[in-house]
Symmetry: C3
Subunit: 157 residues, 3 copies
Amino acid sequence: MADIAMQLAVERLLARYVASIDEDRLEEWPGYFTEACRYQIISRENHERGLPIGVFYADSRGMLHDRVAALREANIYEAQRYRHIVSTVLIDSVANGIASVRSNYLVLRTMQDGTLNVFSTGRYLDCVDLSGTEPLFREKVVVFDNKRIDTLLAIPL
Amino acid sequence: MADIAMQLAVERLLARYVASIDEDRLEEWPGYFTEACRYQIISRENHERGLPIGVFYADSRGMLHDRVAALREANIYEAQRYRHIVSTVLIDSVANGIASVRSNYLVLRTMQDGTLNVFSTGRYLDCVDLSGTEPLFREKVVVFDNKRIDTLLAIPL
Amino acid sequence: MADIAMQLAVERLLARYVASIDEDRLEEWPGYFTEACRYQIISRENHERGLPIGVFYADSRGMLHDRVAALREANIYEAQRYRHIVSTVLIDSVANGIASVRSNYLVLRTMQDGTLNVFSTGRYLDCVDLSGTEPLFREKVVVFDNKRIDTLLAIPL
């Protein structure tokens, strides 16, 4: 794939991923990953120290589907809604049809009472599989800046 | 228009639209719309319920010019300034020279005393007319996340 | 350079610039500028009035290296970390291999105790030299919205 087409294909994947979450179409979320995959939410501190301890981990699309089911059961979207901003999408390298991509994210959260606040900032460290008809995440590591994050029942980042 | 050229043309329209607002060149703002157009600011709640009740509505470029005149009379730029961030610009479909485009926005506001805060987040739901020399908004629906928004004398979003 | 390739090359420069700062690889920062350059941080107020009084000024890559050394000595990264969002990158004109580029930025800051807040918004007014193998900033003027900004020992914006 030519550089320009690849850049826009990756940005489009990120845009669709984010739209599914923000627009409460969470059932679409696992579909942005390959069948075998890695999805992890981890603090910058632990990530920089090489500690593998994150606040969420999944290694298959099935686990992501389970997560969605749990969130639906908890009616989480009644209580809060996210709005993602993704910026500075940087393809570092491409090998064997997999692109290594870094980007900055910001998530704002609106609570049920209407209050709006900054929820999380950080980086997406993605491995994007470009071999199929649509690009898919083979790996998505969400490295958040703030020390602690309450994601027990949180919407995916 | 090829996909890549169209994506960048739409992103450029959004960038110019935003720059005119943020840089206090509001007189340029109506020029980003077609003569007959739709510009609406509406809460997510009302939009999702299909209620057509927004906080602002205009259906012609002339009405947008009137809005600018009212804002100038109120000297609104003395009291506050906006900064827009636009992200994840997604062209959903193109038909008859009109592109349906969704994007996420974030607006930060600096008040006269220098304080800075998050003012609004939400989505732009745009219909962009690509048939002329420059792309123009035929429709722009601003769906904001927070329940209430004071836009009586607010700068356009 | 064709329009599309140029747009993406400029966005990539901004993305790499931002990543070096946010990921604490500050030693790379001066390398994004030409040897003779202009880097300035100035308030919108002073910029609009044509007052040349900013909070930081450098006119060579060497001065930027000195700044990095001072920041390292002060251990500034222990105390705070930035996250940049860059949006609406707009190439206004190109002449003699130099592109005039405007973009909106937002910087969020995470303090050592884990608190996260909006630190600064504003515009990048850049002159990008496209004549070499990699685009470089010949000029970068950071115009911030909030009236005052404490940058005595701050990380570059």
